[in-house]
């Protein structure tokens, strides 16, 4: 079946190789080089080796930002999995048509720009048109109030952003789950709830862990929600990188922060993969 000489196969790959090489590998190398660059007197920078930008990161202000980002994203990963897991399990037991319809909706919402998600939560948490009005109506509050900016607002919107992703990440494992396992458990007299906790969850543990890690890395990348719904003390590393690059024109420091972000996401993926033996 081997047709076409080795030469034509290699030729066919040249354009793709050039594109991936220039536009993925080079930018990557540039970030690392820039993060170690030396600042010149005129405020510009040139390539060299200096740890000044990493030293600037190693102050409590930025370390606290990094810890806050990691803690927030870990919390979001846990919450979104808790919300999405039972749904995904029910979804895989629906008929193919219902499944497809739900998947279309979930994909559509997942693709919706983070800008628009932030906007919709701004409305939901606003004084004039928000959830607070329901509280007044039920009698839990005296008068309506704005729930933004706050850490809770950032958390709520980011969980909302992460839930559709969690569903799609859990979907393969749950839909491939051997149905004879759950049937056996039911035949042996276990209730559906018991089957869920003692069979379904343990069997899909590797998928739960790898989905959690993916959600963690994904929410680390959120940029707009913390800016629109939070105060500067709720900004995550991604926001700080944007801020340094676009508004302070400090490329070396932005690159150093990007390297830190890369190390955090990389080491979390690595650590969890090592600890659990799960495929991340």
């Amino acid at each position: 079946m081997q047709q076409g000489s080795g030469l034509t196969r290699t030729l066919a790959l040249i354009p793709s190789s050039v594109m991936i090489g220039i536009f993925f590998l080079v930018p990557f190398v540039l970030i690392v080089l820039t993060s170690f660059s030396v600042e010149m007197d005129n405020g510009d920078y040139e390539l060299g080796f200096s740890l000044a930008h990493f030293e600037r990161f190693a102050t409590w202000f930025y370390i606290e930002r990094a810890l806050f980002s990691a803690g927030l994203c870990a919390l979001i990963a846990i919450l979104s999995l808790l919300i999405a897991y039972p749904f995904t399990w029910f979804l895989t037991n629906f008929g193919p048509r219902t499944q497809t319809l739900w998947l279309i909706y979930i994909l559509a919402q997942l693709s919706l720009s983070e800008v628009l998600i932030a906007f919709s939560w701004q409305i939901l948490l606003s004084r004039t048109a928000g959830i607070a009005n329901i509280l007044v109506w039920v009698g839990l509050a005296e008068e309506s109030f704005a729930m933004t900016p706050s850490a809770g607002a950032v958390l709520a919107a980011l969980v909302y952003l992460a839930v559709p992703f969690s569903v799609l990440l859990l979907y393969p494992a749950l839909s491939r789950l051997d149905k004879s396992l759950t049937e056996a458990s039911r035949t042996l007299g276990a209730s559906p709830l018991r089957t869920f906790f003692t069979v379904v969850i343990p069997v899909t543990r590797p998928a739960i862990i790898s989905s959690g890690v993916t959600i963690f890395v994904l929410t680390l990348g959120a940029i707009i929600v913390p800016q629109v719904l939070g105060q500067p003390q709720h900004w995550t590393l991604s926001v700080l990188i944007t801020d340094q690059a676009i508004f302070n024109f400090n490329m070396p420091f932005a690159s150093a922060l990007a390297v830190v972000l890369l190390v955090i996401s990389g080491s979390v993926i690595f650590a969890v993969t090592k600890l659990t033996g799960a495929k991340a």
């Binding site: 594109m19 590998l25 080079v26 491939r176 629109v228 944007t242 676009i246």
Partner: protein
């Protein structure tokens, strides 16, 4: 269990769809102020997208970029996925893995990398910059869908056509391509939708010269509430639903998302 299940499913649906319904309702407000439930009914904020010059320009920018980026991504992905599948080339598999990586990293990292690359060669703010950047960032999607499609090609079909004397090119065109094409389309459509909605890479590559819709929306958000944003959100949601329905119609959505056949 069954009542519990129903309550949970209802709450989940409200949680997921509720915010979208609120945004939809708000978009029909007659006045410029934000209010829910909406006061009056008007479609003027939908008309505004097409009438107001600046919104329409951004819409056109976004559509052009998304179409071009999705096309480019499929063109880059196809040879890689094809040679990796057909000939099992180790080099093609390495390229495949490299092509997946940009999508997994936090997008701000790729955005910064593109910004550094384009400024270092002195080509700033051209639309082609963001087209290439999006194509590379979203390359993982056509790579995965196309290789899924190729895996479903029956090897015995390929061998049979070869035994009957079909050349490599004829086999490719008459056996492989018809099976792989819907999956390539799915990859194209995924790219299109995600490029349309992408913010940070568009901002860092061309944010100050070519304003895409997400960038324009974010800039508008800083000056407070504008009802046009609500109508754009509804339009985007409809576009997303249409595109994913097309994918579901022309290729196998549950399979692409990882369910077994």
């Amino acid at each position: 269990m069954s009542t519990l299940r129903r309550i949970y499913l209802a709450l989940f649906a409200i949680y997921l769809i509720g915010p979208i319904i609120v945004i939809t309702a708000v978009s029909f407000n007659e006045k410029r102020f934000l209010s829910f439930p909406p006061k009056g009914f008007s479609l003027r904020w939908y008309a505004e997208i097409f009438v107001a010059n600046d919104w329409f320009t951004s819409l056109m920018n976004s559509l052009t970029i998304a179409l071009a980026a999705a096309t480019l991504a499929v063109l880059i992905a196809f040879p890689v996925a094809y040679t990796a599948w057909r000939f099992g080339l180790r080099y093609a598999r390495a390229l495949f893995a490299l092509g997946i990586a940009p999508f997994i990293l936090p997008p701000v990292i790729m955005a910064l990398g593109f910004l550094l690359l384009f400024t270092s060669v002195g080509i700033n703010g051209l639309m082609v910059n963001v087209i290439i950047a999006h194509a590379i960032f979203l390359l993982a999607l056509p790579l995965v869908t196309i290789s899924l499609g190729l895996e479903s090609v029956d090897q015995s079909l390929v061998e049979a056509s070869q035994t009957m004397g079909a050349s490599g090119w004829v086999v490719f065109r008459t056996v492989i391509l018809p099976i792989a094409a819907p999956f390539a389309f799915a990859g194209f459509a995924f790219c299109f939708v995600l490029s349309l909605n992408e913010y940070i890479i568009a901002l860092m590559t061309v944010g100050f010269t070519v304003e895409t819709l997400p960038v324009k929306i974010f800039n508008a958000l800083r000056y407070g509430y504008t009802p046009v944003i609500a109508s754009i959100a509804v339009v985007f949601m409809l576009v997303n639903i249409t595109v994913f329905s097309l994918i579901a119609k022309f290729s196998n959505l549950t399979r692409i998302l990882g369910a077994q056949d």
